[in-house]
Amino acid sequence: MTEKELKKWLSDAEKIVIAGIGNPIRMDDFVGVKIVQDLHGKVSDKVLLIECETVPESYLQQIIDFSPTHILLIDAAILGLNPSEAKLVKLEELANFPAFTTHMLPLRIFCEYLVKMTKAKISLLLIEPEKTDFGEGLTPKLADFAKKTTEILVRLLN
């Protein structure tokens, strides 16, 4: 993922939701929420920041009420990349599989549902974690990535 890619994707954005997904007690899994936390107070009111933690579906109404043109979900994912490498992924690239418990609703269903309700453009910024063991705090590589990505987003969103 490069700044150029993000800039291109956000080029026609008017109102943007940035939602961080991740578990605060699973180390690098928290990276998405950490980025969103660090953006607070640094972006304009055209940006809605949401810390979804592990339940993005609980924030649907808040996202719909904001009427965004763009929704960026930031999340840790095992992609087979090196730790802290990231990829900007479009909805169509997400695998589609059936849900069998509310404790693991597929992300694609959540995204498609959002598209139906908002007509917004959705992308996922997926970041390869180094460690997702129980514990608080990011590993140094992921902490550095979070810092740099926050700076990029501050530049792009202002």
Binding site: I78, F100, T102
Partner: protein
């Protein structure tokens, strides 16, 4: 284009992994759902300050944090020998009803309901909320989101945070409810009562109006004759937050009724070498393996377990529907696993009605919401999580540090029954290495009824399937794997 699987939105360690074992004639003998992860959450809590427990334990699960929060707060009430003031109990129960509202809506519209609304034979990728919208219209989708958000908002107004609330303390709650917030909760609860009625009507029109679906609900493949467990009030009506634990037998007759602190006298756990998850059973009956019937101590919890274990609902609309369910499905108890869906909607109706009652209770805005805790000792807190009976048991030392923790979570209570339901759903579809393509559909439907709450941990997987079924022959040799 390469597909990326993100499974499962940061919540689950590992995926659904089912092993089916055949006998020497190639027919299904047993099925086991494997829960591979050792959570060890209880061990993290040892040595912590007791008052942290209601906050720590909400992190067990992002879907049912309110259940853990109040099971924990109630265990601390008992451990500190303190009785919360009436207003505090009512606030806890109101927030609890709000949690049931958002949780049961999530299950019916996103997961369980689509099996019927969209149809059991529909392609798997359609059997979700998107399929429901396609069939019932976009406006239904909007109402679903709105009322889920109402449940969340009510929780936030009382609990401080919607996902991981912070209000529960030993002896009560941290803050009273303001008059403005009470009025807002009343407005949302009123709307939710109507939405629950709408949801039941949808169920009537689509499911009960279709004899094929009713036959499916009543079918042998989805029938288990177990004991049932749930919390009841003094009139033996369903209560999510408080009361005694009642257990009924296969004829709906009361088998046990006990106070939370007596649970160890009645429930114990069997351990299998292939899973970290334990298998609870009724001590008095004993463990006889994965079999149903009066001689097997296996019991079921959750919406159907609660309704079967009770003598009714404490609100009028829910009570009317309760009576209709038993009349339609042949009397009490109902043993059909697929009836969990109907029971869940009856509970949604009850939760909405109860939330409205409590929002209108003059005492709900009382400022007296906390009593002073006593000396630390030992305590048990039991609530009904959306998926079933949830037990927290703490032993504290003289400095109120946690010495020992035991938790029995809802899905653990249902774990033996889930294994049996999967086995029975698979019977008839597997003969030797011949596997009917409908296997995953049937297995998924059995699963979905319980809405199993696996270890709510965090993990992502790429290239793994969300549900894999491995079939072994009588010599324990893997002969086939079926997955989507």
């Amino acid at each position: 284009m390469k597909e990326i699987q993100i499974n499962p939105i940061t919540r689950l360690e590992g995926h659904g992994n089912i092993s089916i074992f055949l006998n020497n004639t190639g027919e299904v003998e047993n099925a086991y759902l494997k829960i591979p992860e050792l959570r060890g959450f209880e061990q993290f809590c040892v040595g912590r300050r007791a008052e942290l427990m209601p906050i720590l334990t909400t992190r067990i699960c992002g879907v049912c944090p309110v259940a853990h929060h109040f099971a924990s707060a109630k265990a601390l009430d008992a451990a500190f020998n303190v009785e919360p003031p009436p207003a505090a109990k009512k606030l806890r129960e109101l927030m609890y009803a709000a949690y049931f509202i958002y949780d049961h809506i999530l299950h019916f519209y996103y997961l369980g309901g689509p099996d019927f609304v969209v149809g059991p034979d529909a392609p798997p990728e359609k059997r979700n909320i998107l399929g429901v919208i396609e069939k019932a219209g976009l406006d239904v989708g909007k109402e679903v989101i709105k009322h889920r958000a109402y449940g969340q908002k009510m929780t936030e107004l009382i609990g401080g945070k919607a996902t991981h609330p912070v209000c529960g303390l030993p002896g009560g709650v941290s803050k009273p409810l303001s008059k403005e917030n009470r009025a807002e909760i009343e407005r949302m609860a009123e709307s939710t009562v109507k939405f629950a009625q709408f949801s039941l009507k949808l169920f009537h029109d689509i499911v009960l109006g279709n004899t094929k679906y009713v036959d499916l609900i009543k079918s042998q493949s989805y029938t288990l004759k177990t004991y049932y467990m749930g919390l009841v009030d003094k009139n033996n009506k369903v209560n999510f937050y408080d009361g005694k634990v009642r257990v009924v037998d296969q004829k709906a007759e009361e088998f046990l009724k006990f106070e939370p602190q007596e649970y160890l006298n009645h429930v114990t756990e069997h351990v299998e070498e292939w899973s970290y998850s334990k298998m609870p059973y009724l001590k008095k009956i004993g463990w006889k393996g994965l079999v149903d019937g009066a001689d097997s101590g296996i019991y079921r919890v959750g919406p159907l377990g609660r309704l079967n274990a009770s003598e009714g609902m404490a609100t009028p609309l829910a009570q009317a529907e309760y009576e209709l369910m038993y009349k339609t499905l042949g009397g009490k108890p109902v043993h059909s696993t697929l009836a969990f869906h109907w029971a869940r909607l009856i509970e949604l109706q009850y939760a909405a009605e109860r939330a409205l009652e409590l929002a209108r209770d003059p005492e709900i805005t009382s400022k007296d919401v906390r009593a002073t805790p006593g000396e630390p000792s030992e305590g048990v807190g039991i609530v009904e999580a959306a998926r079933g009976t949830l037990i927290h048991h703490y032993v504290l030392d003289k400095d109120a540090l946690v010495k020992d923790v035991n938790m029995i979570v809802a899905t653990t209570n249902n774990y033996p029954a889930i294994c049996m339901s999967v086995r029975d759903a698979a019977k008839g579809l597997i003969h030797g290495d011949k596997v009917d393509q409908g296997l995953l559909n049937m297995v998924e439907m059995a699963f979905r009824a319980y809405d199993p709450c696996f270890a709510c941990a965090t993990h992502f997987a790429v290239g793994q399937m969300p549900l894999a079924v491995s079939i072994y022959n009588s010599e324990n040799k893997l002969i086939k794997t079926v997955q989507r």
